[in-house]
Subunit: 209 residues, 2 copies
């Protein structure tokens, strides 16, 4: 009898097992977030999520925990994407306005994706008090980062003077809204829509001379 | 024995009874909308609404019907305020941009009020399919009116050329968002915040020469 070479062992390596587990976890998370977005959190049961993947509800629990934990995981994933966008814009060169525009375009794009949509569509009241606290804390970091970028632009003169709080809420509102109206089955890509919205917010409604 | 004058009759006139009924109905509606906004629709029971007014749940039913009917009533009331704002802006004089600005300021202000907040915070999935259809139909009228005002401004040159759909979604998003962040207990009045937001959207982020 010939021994099998290590690479063709029928037993998976620890790394492969970890990778496989992570891939399964991501698949369950994606199925859950899409169902939350489509049907609403309350109207979604973990049974439906399980059925859509051809697995059982205990398997969903095994990978992600209960419904509250899954929702927290979904919004945390979305908020982490937004925090990465903050980091990218901080590393970018240019005026405050230029760096803010980099951030805003990514921000809008993320909100058109599965996890960003979930961040916007989730009200605090859907989460347990503890999860809601964690959700609010992450959102505060994003809001603060946006205000900081605006304040930097106001300081270097690339952004018109005004109240950074009101400016940040105005921009965030405009660019959160695609989570409600953007249709991924349409012809326009998220990056293109995001760029047009940011141009619009930069130049304003009134024509420039 | 002297006959009582008609005006001091202990029996209420039909008009007074109607008016009283309407005042009670409004009070129940306001208590309900505030609770929906504060706790979320799902977390609010009609028992809580009844208790907050010192009445019973059957009395709430008597005035407004079941929870779905009450929510539909709340959002319809908010959307009617927005439709009035459309009419006002249509009757206003000035360029397309000027009339749009009149509309946008009222639009933002309404969204900081009890019923406008409820319009924004209510997802279709919270309503029965029939109520959701009615909700969507009214929202479409508002969206259409905003796009019409924008298109008029683009035609008369008072608004920069662009896609009226994207412009309308951008404006609506910015001015819907106060339903989530505006705190009526703060020091700034809705009209003042609305005016600053609309100025910001009109002039844009980049300074004007």
């Amino acid at each position: 009898m010939r021994l099998l070479a290590n690479s063709s062992s029928p037993f998976k390596s620890a790394t492969a097992r970890r990778r496989e587990r992570e891939a399964k976890r991501q698949a369950v998370l994606l199925a859950a977030v899409r169902m939350f977005n489509e049907r609403g959190f309350h109207a979604t049961s973990l049974d439906d999520v399980a059925t859509s993947l051809g697995i059982t509800k205990p398997t969903v629990y095994h990978y992600l925990g209960n419904k509250d934990q899954i929702l927290l995981e979904c919004v945390t994933f979305g908020l982490e994407q937004l925090l990465e966008a903050v980091e990218e814009s901080r590393a970018a060169s240019g005026t405050g306005l230029e760096r803010l525009r980099v951030f805003l375009r990514r921000y809008a794009e993320i909100n058109m994706g599965d996890f960003g949509r979930c961040v916007i569509r989730t009200g605090d009241e859907a989460l347990s008090p503890e999860s809601a606290r964690s959700f609010r804390a992450l959102k505060k970091r994003i809001d603060q980062a946006m205000r900081d970028l605006i304040a930097e632009g106001m300081e270097d003169g690339s952004i018109t003077q005004g109240d950074p709080w009101i400016a940040a809420f105005t921009l965030a509102g405009a660019l959160n809204w695609p989570a409600r109206w953007y249709d991924p089955r349409g012809t326009r890509r998220p990056a293109e829509v995001a760029a047009e919205m940011v141009d619009f917010l930069t130049r304003g409604l009134a024509p420039r001379a």
